[in-house]
Amino acid sequence: MKRKLMAAAIGVTAAFAAPLAFTSEELNFDAYRQMLADGNPAELFEMEGEELWVTARGPKNATLEQCDLGLGPGVVEGAAAQLPRYFADTGKVQDLESRLMHCMETLQGIPSGEIIGGKFRQGERGKLASLVAYVVTHSKGKPIAVDVSHPKMQDMYAMGEKVFFYRTGAMDFSCASCHGEDGKRIRATHLPNITTNKGAAEGWTSWPAYRVSNSQFWTFQHRLWDCFRQQRTAEPVFASDVTIALSVFLAAKSNGYEAQWPGVKR
């Protein structure tokens, strides 16, 4: 089964990645998204994540079945749609990735430092991404419902908004330089206007996503990391405050919009 899906995924990549590299993805994107709708290759990651959730691992040889993503221990259904949120047990605002990292450390004994110091798609950070695929799939079609009533959530939102307009680095860019107006493009790539609820939701509800161009599954942390790279800042630390603040800003603006997770992207 797994092997069969893998073969299908490779077929899809070969068929679509090559022409897309040369033409505007705007022209045919909807068509291929539709073709993939019944078989998003992110399913491979989702299946791996589901397995990881119930597998006893780490120094403590435990599963993640007691992990509380905000709706109670073990509840995955709808959990991603209400993240990020404030967690009383850590006294912190956490997104899906930082919360999973916390569960891996406390339940399984897998040190967070290994994930923070690691690389995307590799080692424990790669496994974490598969867990993300598993969890977000169980919020597909649900409205985003992020509760910003806690003062720490409000604070993170305010910080995230400031960061969004924070111009810095060699090219003086902020997020708003590329995502601050309607209908703008970088080359042929459409840029959502994240200052609007609709534009923020366009981004938030479609990531994590499977990227057809490189056959990779990218989490939202990974998406932000690459935008900071394009912004020419220094490298953001995995699950650091800046990534949480921006996530709260985008997620809260997306409230009420339907989660499309996992997305399919160029």
Binding site: V146, S149, V163, F165, E181, R232, A234, P236, G256
Partner: protein, 222 residues
């Protein structure tokens, strides 16, 4: 549930915007505040954000933590609302003084073909780039230039037919050099990078781009 949860925040946001009296494009202006108390609170938040922009990042490759610290222009333009006209003028004056004009007063000598390569390349200065030299200008990320290139961005205005439409008077040539060297000298909060001042491009590369924009043989002017 979600609507109710966001209501208090939305209310604060609306109030802040009303107080500040400067809703532009329908966005709320976090930087601007009418009351001293709101001003102090915003300054405290600003200070924490500056701190976070250091602590949440690490130096990788050629991308050092210096990049996280804003200069005067970046700081003044880190809000959805531009600074007042007086501040803009003062900033632009300062930026104008940084422009390095060609030493011999000659703006020509570039090769439009080289210019095309620089305009097309968007690479350079990320933490995955090996060296800070040989960057692209990334012009096509934001501008249409050669009408034959369909994959052109729209963040900046179209530059198709640049010299054909504007001519090559001393004034327009000088302005264009200045704009390429330091776009913020003409609009302090421009979205365009400061190519010369920011050491993104060298003087020679800017000369090639001038040729790309002004040479009658360049596809930009065809």
């Amino acid at each position: 549930m979600s609507k109710k949860a966001i209501a208090p925040l939305a209310l604060t946001v609306v109030l802040a915007a009303l107080l500040a009296g400067c809703v532009k494009h329908g966005h709320y202006a976090p930087g601007a505040s009418a009351t001293p108390a709101a001003g102090a609170a915003d300054q405290a938040l600003e200070a924490r954000v500056e701190e976070m922009m250091l602590t949440s990042f690490k130096a990788t490759g050629i991308a050092s933590l210096d990049r996280q610290v804003r200069d005067e222009v970046q700081k003044a333009c880190s809000s959805p609302v531009q600074p007042d006209a007086e501040t803009m003028r003062r900033l632009e004056e300062g930026q104008m003084a940084t422009i390095q004009w060609p030493s011999n007063g000659d703006f020509t000598g570039g090769d439009w073909k080289e210019g095309a390569r620089i305009a097309i390349s968007g690479r350079g200065l990320t933490w995955t780039d090996a060296s800070p030299d040989n960057n692209g200008g990334g012009c096509y990320n934001c501008h249409a230039m050669d009408p034959g290139e369909v994959s052109a961005g729209t963040i900046g205005p179209s530059l198709v037919g640049y010299a054909r439409l504007r001519g090559n008077s001393e004034e327009i040539v000088r302005y264009t050099w200045g704009k390429l060297w330091n776009a913020k000298a003409y609009n302090a909060c421009s979205n365009m990078p400061r190519n010369g001042y920011g050491k993104i491009l060298t003087e020679t590369q800017i000369r090639h781009l001038m040729a790309y924009l002004f040479d009658p043989a360049s596809p930009v002017n065809k």
